[in-house]
Symmetry: C2
Subunit: 202 residues, 2 copies
Amino acid sequence: MSRGLLLVVSGPSGAGKGTICKEILAKRPDLQLSVSATTRKPREGEVDGKSYFFLQEETFRNMIEQGEFIEWASFCQNYYGTPKKAVEEQLKAGHDVILEIEVQGAMQVRSKFPEAVFIFVLPPSIEELKNRIIGRGTEAMHVIEERMERAKKEFEQIDKYNYILLNDTVEAATERLSAIIDAEKLRIERNEETIKQFVNNK
Amino acid sequence: MSRGLLLVVSGPSGAGKGTICKEILAKRPDLQLSVSATTRKPREGEVDGKSYFFLQEETFRNMIEQGEFIEWASFCQNYYGTPKKAVEEQLKAGHDVILEIEVQGAMQVRSKFPEAVFIFVLPPSIEELKNRIIGRGTEAMHVIEERMERAKKEFEQIDKYNYILLNDTVEAATERLSAIIDAEKLRIERNEETIKQFVNNK
């Protein structure tokens, strides 16, 4: 069985990466979401072990020290990270895995998994990004300002990604993401086995 | 207007690249086929200026000398080539252009248009490839053997391509090609303008 594809869906907070990931997972049962760990408090409706693994700060710090994360980041006074073990097992079993993570984390994944596919989700506009962060209604004003500053710095990392995914509408963005996944599976460097069979069969 | 995408659909004779190109052009009116020139005799149903520009050998040789081809090749005692002018005009006008060409020609395009997308069409199997070449019924036995030898050498060029496209069924292959086109349009390096607008808008 060939190794699964690691898809890193990233971009500024508020760009809509969560909604797009939810939509593509509903449409494509061949994909699996990697569940992240975080020390932030659950928002309404979020389920432990499904939305995130909600951890105490001490537990999280211990896991960092043990090297148990593919990537981790502190962001607005909370920790976020991707536990290594589960992702490796999913990939080995041939499953395609989506990581929905912040830009800071994505850059760490890039150094460890250069073969992963890096997708930068763009909001329709900077104004719309601000509206979305404000609209969420869960953050204080200084947090909103902090996030906007952060977003601007994150845009400067975009050339380290493979694809941009403009989130004009969730439906259109999801279809484009689906095309990216289909296309990536056809790239020469991911099909060495198929090619070998063909060449040897001569 | 941003420059169009140059798609090189290539692979051994008999792999089915012609059928796939015909199908995708019917499905996606945003694509344009580049019409090749050749010195081979028209097959039944082929129309001059549409299927190919059917040229005399002397005319073709003159065009080679004048540098009027993006690529050209001699194949089974005939010349094939892609006139440069028309393709450049289509790309400049923002149209996406498909070149359906032999492997030998594709390698020439690669050196001149490194930004082009190179797709290698694989037949379902080597046996099926032979059946298709025989089944066409237009070629003598020594030509069939020549083509099979050629195909085997062409497979060795596959790692210079970006994508493999297994032609298991025309419908499935066409859908995959469509995904490749959609995904390539989203690659970071093809979206410098969009990104610049975003970063400057901060």
